[in-house]
Structures are given as structure tokens and as C-alpha cells.
């Protein structure tokens, strides 16, 4: 199936999957079997499992395979919850107050939090505390990759750690408390993260939709959108996309205007990127394939928006020219800069990753 059609199928089947709403589609075993790899790499299979169970024309073998996969993912989510609690307890015992981003802090807005599969536990600490935090977590001996520790909050870097931290809230979590971002900054982070990863997983758009619908009446859109205009435009576009593709309900003063302006190229590119996962039969490889294909695809207009200081609200024609003419030049300049600089960014990152090895 062509990528856009697969992407469209993912969107249709994921409509309002963060709620307990019943299925609004019919599907046959053969269709589902063809779509399964795409669902896996889009990260939505566990979210729509209950709906699939309610369909009466799917083969028991296929359902059993899906059930086994979803069970394993839910168990991993439960394990991540336990690890989150453990990490928070240990860091606090060492005088570090961490902030949880993504993971459970978003999953709690789903009807069934265990259905929102998370790959790891994302924990942010003040940048100066990063070496100590790293040591504390290393002593826990958790499996490689299960904790992603960040110095600062990358997607909210323009706001400063202290300002963001002051607005965080403590939420009850398994007879303890975890610190999470305020709803406005949570939505901002999730939207900008969605863009930074080239919009390539449907589950991230489900997160945006779930957060949009979890808003309270005092949600401050000014706080959420404050800052650079292009970031505000990206957030609006992501929210409109959630409304268009997943039927999320937005309660915002700019909603109608943003929905009208939502560019067609964006919808098409997002559906295409979701459809790319359908080419491989293994979820792990599927995700890698998506990452690899988007890394080496300089003609992706979403990548253009990410790399250039522009927002998403441009016509298809403008995006086409920007992508074909300016992006190759930008990529070339970066390659030259990275290869000629004495200590380039990659080496800096390597020092940050393995300080002991490098020193």
C-alpha cells in the first residue's frame, strides 16, 4: 500500500484512541495483517487493541498475536512506572529534584495509561546536577536505555530551567509524588518534540490530542504559545493536525483560523511518514527504518521547517522551493562546518556522554 494510504488508515483507526470510545471502523484480517507493521512503528497498536478485540471478523490467531504483543508492551509500561518511582526516590535522596517529561506524565491522560507504550523514562535535572544524577542512576543498575537523563529541558530551553521548574506541579504517583510540567508547558514540549522528530510517530499526535482534551478551563494559551512565533505556529499546526486527523477537540481562541490555515503539504507529509513503517515486519526495525529514512531524506518538507527559522504556514509551492533549493545548501554548509571545526558539536556531545572515557 502506498505510504499516504497507510498513514490515512493509521489516522482513521486511531481516531479518539486516547478515550474509551468504541470502534468506528470495520476491518478484515487481511487488511489488518498488512497494516500491522505500520501500527507497530506508529506506536498505536496497544491504543487500539481494545477496539480490535470488539471487531467480529478478525481471525483468532491474529488477535492472539496482537494480544501477546500488547500485553508485553503494557507490562513494559508498568515496569517503567516502577522505575520512574525508583529514580525519583534515589535522586531526591541525593538532593536532586527531577522533573518527569513525556512517559507517565502524558500517559495518565489516556483512558488506560498502560496502553500508551513508552520506550524509556525521561527525567530532567538541572544541568549542573547532571554528573551527580548520572552517577546516582548508574548505581541503580537499571537496564541500558531504560532511563533517559536530560540536563535541562531541551524543547523548553528558551524559557530557562528555573522559570519552568517554578511552574511544575507535584502529582500523586503510586503512594508517592512526581514532579511534572505545568499543562501549558507540557503541551508545548509535546508539540515541539513531535516536530523535532519530524512528526513520524502517530502516537505523539495522540499525546497532543490527549493533552488538548485534558485541559482545564484555566489553561493559559498565552503561556503555552509565548516565545518565538515559529514555535507558536508549530504548536498551533500540531494541534490543528490532531483535530483534523484524530478528531481531537480544541478549546482555543485561535482554533478556527489555524484549522483553516493548516497546509495540505503538512497533512500529506505526516501521513506519508506514518506510512513508511509499513515496509518492515518487525517493530524494532520499523522504528529504525523511520528514523533512518527521515535522517537521510533531505527533501522532506517537515525537515525543512525544522532546519530553517520558519513556521509551517506556507504554501506547498513555497515549501517545495525551500526544500529543493535552500535545504541542500544548508545541509552542505553544515557538513563543511562540522568537518572543519576543531571541536565540533558531535565531539562535544561525546564528551558529555562519556566524560570519564574521554578524560
Amino acid at each position: 500500500m502506498p505510504g499516504t494510504r497507510v498513514g490515512r488508515a493509521i489516522a482513521d483507526l486511531s481516531v479518539r484512541c486516547w478515550t474509551n470510545s468504541p470502534p468506528t471502523f470495520q476491518l478484515h484480517s487481511q487488511q489488518l495483517r498488512a497494516l500491522l507493521p505500520a501500527f507497530l512503528s506508529a506506536g498505536v497498536l496497544t491504543l487500539i487493541q481494545e477496539r480490535l478485540e470488539k471487531l467480529d471478523n478478525l481471525s483468532p490467531q491474529l488477535l492472539r498475536r496482537i494480544r501477546e504483543h500488547c500485553r508485553k508492551q503494557s507490562m513494559q509500561c508498568a515496569q517503567h512506572e516502577l522505575r520512574t518511582k525508583l529514580v525519583f526516590q534515589r535522586l531526591r535522596a541525593n538532593g536532586i529534584e527531577p522533573v518527569l517529561i513525556k512517559g507517565w506524565s502524558v500517559a495518565r491522560h489516556y483512558a488506560n495509561p498502560l496502553s500508551r507504550f513508552t520506550l524509556d523514562v525521561d527525567v530532567c535535572v538541572r544541568r549542573e546536577q547532571l554528573p551527580v544524577a548520572e552517577q546516582v542512576i548508574a548505581e541503580l543498575g537499571l537496564p541500558f536505555g531504560s532511563v533517559d537523563l536530560h540536563g535541562g529541558i531541551h524543547d523548553l530551553a528558551d524559557r530557562g530551567w528555573q522559570a519552568v521548574f517554578d511552574r511544575t506541579t507535584l502529582e500523586p504517583f503510586h503512594s508517592d509524588q512526581v514532579r511534572v510540567l505545568c499543562p501549558e508547558e507540557q503541551l508545548r514540549l509535546v508539540c515541539l518534540h513531535f516536530w523535532r522528530h519530524r512528526c513520524n510517530r502517530a502516537v505523539w499526535l495522540c499525546d497532543i490530542a490527549a493533552l488538548l482534551e485534558a485541559q482545564s478551563s484555566d489553561f493559559d494559551w498565552n503561556l503555552c504559545l509565548a516565545g518565538r512565533r515559529r514555535d507558536a505556529d508549530r504548536i498551533k499546526a500540531a494541534a490543528s493536525l490532531a483535530a483534523r486527523l484524530l478528531k481531537a477537540r480544541i478549546d482555543a481562541p485561535w482554533e478556527e483560523a489555524a484549522a483553516r490555515k493548516l497546509p495540505d503539504w503538512l497533512v500529506k507529509s505526516v501521513l506519508e511518514s506514518w506510512g513508511r513503517g509499513s515496509t518492515l515486519d518487525e517493530d524494532r526495525l520499523g522504528v529504525m527504518w523511520i528514523v533512518a529514512s527521515s535522517l537521510f531524506n533531505p527533501l522532506d518538507p517537515i525537515r525543512t521547517v525544522n532546519r530553517l527559522p520558519i513556521g509551517p504556514y506556507h504554501s506547498e509551492r513555497t515549501m517545495k522551493w525551500l526544500t529543493r533549493l535552500i535545504m541542500p545548501a544548508v545541509v552542505l554548509i553544515r557538513i563543511v562546518r562540522d568537518t572543519t571545526a576543531p571541536l565540533n558539536r558531535r565531539e562535544t556531545a561525546a564528551v558529555a556522554l562519556h566524560p570519564k572515557v574521554v578524560s
Binding site: S74, M75, A78, L82, E134, A138, P143, S146, G151
Partner: protein
């Protein structure tokens, strides 16, 4: 033999027709089918396996025997979810157990527990200053459990 379930440090979460037991101190997660969970639930340190089986039949209408309860207890004790002195596994008991499993499989009443243990590694975390990183955790369902489930063609539903 009066099994006593361990409740301290255990978080119970429903997962469809199954139940998750999350063991906080070890970060291990166990998925119990209905039969295994009922055995865990009714093991209060005062009932024998036969009495537990009787209660399961009466209150839940599921086919259950004392042998099935004993198999569930063995699995629960192995996973540190229950206190109960287990009799030694002699060759005769092994043979008997195999027969019982076959009978239970026919009745669709096998207590099944799938476990996700917290793996240990020297490289504990991946720290990034500027970038998010994208990878899978190593944890997986133990191969022996998968082998058991596949061999006996058991699903977690009763």
C-alpha cells in the same frame, strides 16, 4: 499447606481480562491470568489449596482443582509473590504434575503467570545534553515462559 500472599510492595493493576502485579522493590512485573490471580487473591494464610479451589468454583464458576491451585502457588512462590513451604519436587511429583497440566489444559484452567524481570546492566542510562535518543529497553519475557506457553498452546485467558 496454607499459602499466604505477599501484599507489601505489590501494586495490583487490571489489564483487560488479566491482572498485573507490580513488585516495587525489584521493578518486576507479573501478568496473571484469571485463575492465577484468584489463587493469589484467596491465599490469605488460612485456607488450604483444596479450600481455595472450592472457593474459586463457588464464587467465580471456574473449573478448578486443588492441583491447579498448587501449580499456581508454585509459580507465585517462585516469583516471591507468596509465602508457602513447597514440598520437594520428586520424579513422581513431576510426572503427576505433567498429567495435571494436561488435564487443566483440556479444561482451559491452567494458571499462567508471565513475568518481566528487571534486567541489570553496568551501563545504566544514556545521558544526553542536547538530543533525545531513541531505543528499546532490553527487558523481555523470559524465554522459558514463552516456551511453556507456546508448547502447551496456552493463552492468558481462561
Amino acid at each position: 499447606m496454607q499459602p499466604q500472599k505477599i501484599e507489601e510492595g505489590i501494586i495490583v493493576r487490571p489489564l483487560g481480562a488479566e491482572t498485573l502485579l507490580m513488585h516495587e522493590p525489584t521493578c518486576n512485573v507479573h501478568c496473571l491470568n484469571q485463575m492465577a490471580y484468584l489463587v493469589y487473591l484467596y491465599s490469605d494464610g488460612a485456607r488450604t489449596p483444596a479450600e481455595i479451589a472450592e472457593r474459586i468454583v463457588q464464587e467465580n464458576g471456574l473449573p478448578c482443582t486443588a492441583d491447579a491451585v498448587e501449580i499456581a502457588i508454585e509459580q507465585l512462590v517462585e516469583r516471591s509473590l507468596m509465602h508457602c513451604p513447597l514440598p520437594e519436587l520428586t520424579p513422581e511429583r513431576q510426572l503427576r504434575r505433567r498429567e495435571v497440566l494436561q488435564q487443566l489444559a483440556a479444561m482451559m484452567a491452567v494458571p499462567v503467570i508471565l513475568s518481566l524481570s528487571a534486567g541489570r546492566s553496568s551501563a545504566a542510562c544514556f545521558t544526553t545534553n542536547e538530543h533525545d535518543t531513541f531505543f528499546y529497553p532490553e527487558a523481555s519475557v523470559p524465554r522459558s515462559v514463552n516456551f511453556f506457553v507456546e508448547t502447551f498452546d496456552l493463552t492468558c485467558e481462561p
